[in-house]
Symmetry: D2
Subunit: 356 residues, 4 copies
């Protein structure tokens, strides 16, 4: 028989059913099948490599993940330093705050009569409900917190650190904001004005014309400086949106000032959007290479799946298989309590890129 | 404090990470979150109910699931009678046959140069490869098998039973076709002419003008008679296409002759298509109610996910949690070896609906 | 200034608004923009090339296009020989028959209460309604027609020709079936058993055990022979499903018997499905090259759009710009009235591929 | 014959081909068909109603529409006051600026080798290319412009007005920014830090620690005050993202201070995202009702389509059919040159919601 083509070396191995198999075993066997099952399994492997590779790992988070029940997964990733820096939409942080303060989101139906819900002051996020009155009370709580801050611009990073600190003091509860505060993991929220956190800030402003000033341009400098300080980065993106672009922008902006930066070394994204309409949310990691957002030889994978299916399986498996790698990991330490952040004890330059 | 709205009773419970949690535990906790994670968990619960509810369970299978590594999952569902009747595209049965005969599909890349693959006679299915030469040899094998059959019309059900029998005799290997043969589970393939099995049949015809006659209209009568014989049915659909519609059509056609039939009592579908373009593959289970395909009070769920992610998790969990229900299950027995099939020892009328 | 990269030669030209611009002008200007707008414009250009290139043009049609208001577009394409051979799902032909017989589909809402619709015997297709009672009467009409035919196997091609003939005699109305009959354009329906036409046939069988026998394997031979007779083909696919695969299969099967066949020379598809889940409906035209379904140097384009938006614009433009090319076109003539079809006056071999 | 159901009153009228039909005629006939074709036609009708209904019309713009060739469509809508206020991602404004400055985006391929593009400093957006060197030069140009501004916080609205003014002075070219400047149409960019405009601002900051301060919280107050000043609003959204939410947030925030506000009276969105993954980009307009973002009796439509197909057709038709309505329209006049904007000659309160 003639020699097989080099393209026909690794057979697909059909997934066999084992009752109640553990997450790690599921993914190990899914790596041998096709399509998005294989990609999800590959995502686990790439994340493990990130953890063992002396990289700064950015996590981007868009979509209603906190309201939808994934906030403690993200909180876990932060507390155990599976990631080093979070970039999030405002809504995810707001819904996290809502639950950390002891409120809830509720199981609902996508087919309920929305006029009826509106009549009862219930806000719907697809199949999930929340109390509008409780949301209004959160906005007020945020406004009051914002009024306790100094009357100067805060980057979203500094503001969210302070917010996490205050939330922790008030509640003692785990969550994204509180765990990030306790683990000194920076959070950036480039579109903070497009969220209920922004609405709370605007209500602070309404009461005091000098309150609620967020310096989102400062965030650009800080995020790029994180890359410049250690030009080996990785990117984990859930759902596109501003976080996805902001993480890539940090690398592109950093490269402008430091040619050691050459794009993320590893990248994984879990998205439901598609590339062919041209939007950034669905853009491919191949395309990211053209921009230098991703190193030309980076290991990367895109998983086309809802994060509410992909993340429980992926992180449950990773938590076991990456245990040793994680224990040996020596991530950078951040100092986040002031207007100028520091990394590994050395502060960034004030209002400047850390150009070489 | 005032009473909560009735809409705000069941809180979303954030998923918490437990290292290497087993499949059943993952789904149990995903049932308390939102979006497609919740829907996948609900699918497990509904399938369990089907198994405990004296229903005939149809499984529909479209998309490249066999080539993509899920054929042994389907084979398992058949062997253990999680389902009672399979409706499949021809490709899924063909790719199953390919592997049962000892060939493989191979792990590939969606970005490979297709002209190069074509040059090496390699067929690509997204990220999966197969040898075209081996496919041609399968076609020939099917043609030769078809020439061993009587020169009369065979329903796809009878033909596929005989094919499974022959395949089992030749290989002794588990798979969809062979397990269905051994478990006496009928398989319908309404679009058999649109597949390589059809191509094999056409090559039999090429050699003998009286060979390869498949009576797909006969399949309609048999599938409806299965419903009429026991007018309690359930539907599990992977991926839309002709199987989805054919399963619903069996119920609608049966109802025309027997008013006890009132649509499927339970339904779950795992799809990637969407409703708003009007195609049947993406159509909602709500819409199915208008047609009477689904009982008005049926329990149902749609999971928007790739089956290569959803099925490994779902079936691994189900295999544990449904064990007792399955053991107590008394599914109908089929007799499939002749032109007229029998259920529970009693044959269907020849060429007629079993009208009351 | 340094020389521009060869990649930066053709600028995107922003679309400028001209009030009430005609279709052809819209597409001409959309060819200079990006994403799916450009692809739709490219589809027009490729279709024009097909018409001028001595090709046999296959049209595939899946999704609820007839119910959704596109049946007269397809009827127009057939009557004027923009296409030479139609491959369709059964539903599209059935819904065409429904309207040709003077019934209607109705404008509805995707949000209506389906239990209420079911109570009034109304079937919903997303935002479109139809009377179930009228559908049942169609089934009966088809059964009665089928009982007038000879008691022998009919290919779907021969059966549908006879059905179009009868429908034309009864109604004198234009439509897909009637226009195809009058223009001698063959229609294949490989999944005819998965449709209400199949249901009508099954009701004929119920009354007469020798009626309603459709030879779908015969369709495979005839469709491949069309390719072998003139091994230059083109493919226009709306919506995936069995028609898409059947058209490609005709080419692949033909190549098995005639090595002059080398895949379609031109291909355009208008789809809403995506490639990354591995299903054939969403598969890319690049992938089709690996199988030899498409010539390696074929001109091709995929338009990711709903056909109810894309087709009105595309065909209205094409009807003007392709006028002269169409007038000069000399398509093959088909003879469809018997069990063996003929092309350009020369019949195919009976029950055989026209192997060289 | 018995009376027809009330559900079966308005028949689908099949689209008939007329060679080179004008845009308005296409849409008029598409309104009688189904699925997204009907929705696009409905969008035209709803937009016409907005124009005749004494509403403030917000336009949201996400996705790569400027790079993709739609910037002059948006510029047209602004100049002719089809819309009154633009909310955009930073990228769309940046790519507009790029072209207004005489640079181009280029027609490319989604299949090009991205490493090769990267090597030539070419950035890819799906099938569209741009010169990275030109982009860097834009960033520098923005930085220099930012350094000419006062050293105080600017809302994105004030900043973008000044940017449009400067761009107009420098180039005299039409575009989104320049037309908005000349028509006194406010532009909000809530995620300005997540874009190359933000990168330009950060480079200004790098040179001068007091430069580049954008007050995005101030934007929340101004956008809500626009709603409070005239609590009749409408929303046109292209593509989700921050603009979609920000427009809705303006209404929700306004209602908090003025109970005459009751959500948008009219809404249309052209999106490619879907609701069932829970993200805001794909969220339905039904869901928006529960939040009070949309009036319970609002007329609304969602078109699931790529804007590069939908917008050329829609706006070309609207430009003709809405001519008279537009001529009679008396939109509010904005005064945008200072830190506090004015509407119809009356300034908003400084740093406060215009609470009653």
């Amino acid at each position: 028989m003639k020699t097989k083509s080099r393209f026909l070396r690794a057979p697909v191995e059909p997934f066999t059913v084992e009752a109640d198999a553990p997450a790690g075993d599921l993914l190990a066997r899914m790596e041998k099948i096709s399509f998005q099952g294989r990609n999800l399994a590959t995502a686990r492997r790439i994340w493990e490599k990130m953890l063992g590779a002396d990289c700064t790992i950015f996590l981007g988070m868009a979509g209603a993940l906190s309201a939808g029940g994934l906030r403690m997964v993200v909180a876990y990733l932060i507390a155990h330093r599976y990631v080093d820096c979070l970039v999030s939409t405002g809504a995810n942080l707001y819904h996290d705050l809502h639950e950390t303060r002891g409120r809830h989101h509720f199981i609902g139906s996508p087919h309920e009569d929305d006029a009826k819900l509106q009549g009862e002051h219930i806000d719907r996020v697809y199949d999930t409900y929340a109390s509008e009155d409780e949301f209004c009370e959160n906005d007020e709580w945020i406004a009051e917190f914002a009024l306790t801050l100094e009357r100067r611009p805060y980057t979203s990073r500094e503001f969210l650190y302070r917010l996490g600190e205050y939330l922790w003091q008030q509640t003692g509860q785990e969550g994204i904001l509180t765990n990030a505060y306790r683990a000194n993991v920076p959070i950036f929220c480039p579109a903070i004005a497009d969220s209920s956190i922004g609405m709370g800030l605007s209500q602070a402003r309404h009461r005091d014309a000098t309150a609620g000033l967020i310096d989102v341009v400062g965030d650009i400098l800080e995020s790029a400086n994180i890359v410049i300080r250690h030009p080996r980065t990785a990117s984990v993106v859930l759902g596109g949106g501003t976080p996805k672009n902001f993480i890539n922008q940090a690398s592109v902006q950093a490269e402008f000032f430091d040619d050691r930066v050459g794009g993320h070394r590893y990248a994984l994204q879990i998205v439901t959007d598609v590339p062919h309409f041209g939007g950034a949310s669905g853009s491919s990691l191949e395309e990211a290479r053209s921009w230098g957002k991703l190193a030309t030889d980076a290991e990367q994978v895109t998983v086309h799946a809802d994060a509410t299916i992909a993340m429980p399986l992926l992180v449950s498996a990773l938590a076991a298989s990456a245990r040793d790698t994680l224990a040996a990991r020596k991530p950078m330490t951040f100092e986040l309590s002031g207007p100028t952040m520091a990394v590994n004890g050395r502060p960034f330059p004030t209002a400047r890129f850390e150009a070489r």
